[in-house]
């Protein structure tokens, strides 16, 4: 099968609309197709990866733990835009830890989240064959 670079662009907050949840559902299903997958988080999408999410008060499911399972699906490239974090008063410390085991490096645990600049994000997008924007 052809292998393409799939980039899932997440621009919306995790709750308030369904985009973030339904994006993650595509990522999980798409993992079965053995494509080269990356996720991008920008604008309010950076809130999707914040730690300590608690949805008890709004009656919807907290799906943020699912991000930590992505490594098991070979989804190991989560790009977060530095400017979007800064604009919202967030830093790397506000994000949850998402790790994967690198099979090419004796299954060493490595972080999946990479914080990159807006200019680098443009390069990531330019390098993608298929961009799905949510």
């Amino acid at each position: 099968m052809t292998i393409k670079n799939f980039l899932y662009v997440n621009r919306k907050a995790p709750y308030g609309t369904i985009y973030a949840l339904e994006s993650l559902e595509v990522v999980l299903i798409g993992a079965a197709f053995d494509q080269d997958v990356s996720l991008a988080f920008l604008d309010d999408g950076v809130f999707q990866l914040t730690k300590g999410q608690n949805t008890d008060g709004i009656g919807v499911k907290n799906f943020s733990p699912t991000f930590r399972a992505l490594g098991d699906y070979d989804v190991t490239k989560l790009y977060v835009e530095a400017e979007s974090l800064a604009e919202r008063g967030l830093t790397a410390d506000d994000l949850q830890e998402v790790m994967y085991e690198d099979e090419d490096d004796d299954w060493a645990e490595k972080p999946s989240i990479k914080i990159i600049s807006r200019a680098e994000m443009a390069d990531v997008m330019a390098g993608a064959d298929v961009v799905l924007s949510f």
Binding site: E25, I29, F33, D129, L132, S133
Partner: protein, 130 residues
């Protein structure tokens, strides 16, 4: 060129599905191929045959059904998104014990795999959404 199209906003509220329709028509007129359109998020609401817009307005569902029929376009509605929003075909209605179904002719309910497959098999994937 082969285009895959994603529609991710609902009919009548948002321009996305109209723009997608016009894009597909223009692409076909220009000699391109559009083998499949995938409806996701509120975009799945396009597929109900029970919508009744005022007579002097465009009928979005009927336009898509006609376009699909004329050009053999596969109109796929995401099953997970459709079930959340009460869109069922006959099989699903029976399977889920529901007393009605509402999917229009030309649309079919299937999984998100169809979206990924479309991304793999087409030259360009174009999303119409917010």
């Amino acid at each position: 060129m082969k285009f895959g199209v994603v529609v991710s906003e609902g009919p009548y509220t948002h321009q996305a599905v109209d723009s997608a329709y016009l894009f597909v028509k223009a692409a076909l007129d220009a000699g391109h191929e559009v083998p499949r359109v995938f409806f996701y998020h509120d975009g799945v609401n396009v597929s109900t045959r029970l919508s009744i817009p005022p007579q002097d307005e465009r009928n979005i569902q009927q336009n898509w059904t006609a376009l699909a029929k004329g050009h053999g376009i596969d109109l796929v509605v995401c099953i997970a998104a459709a079930q959340r929003r009460g869109l069922l075909d006959e099989n699903e209605a029976t399977r889920q014990g529901k007393d009605a179904n509402n999917i229009a002719e030309g649309f079919r309910i299937s999984g998100l795999g169809q979206l990924i497959e479309m991304g793999i098999q087409t030259d360009r994937l174009v999303t119409f959404g917010d």
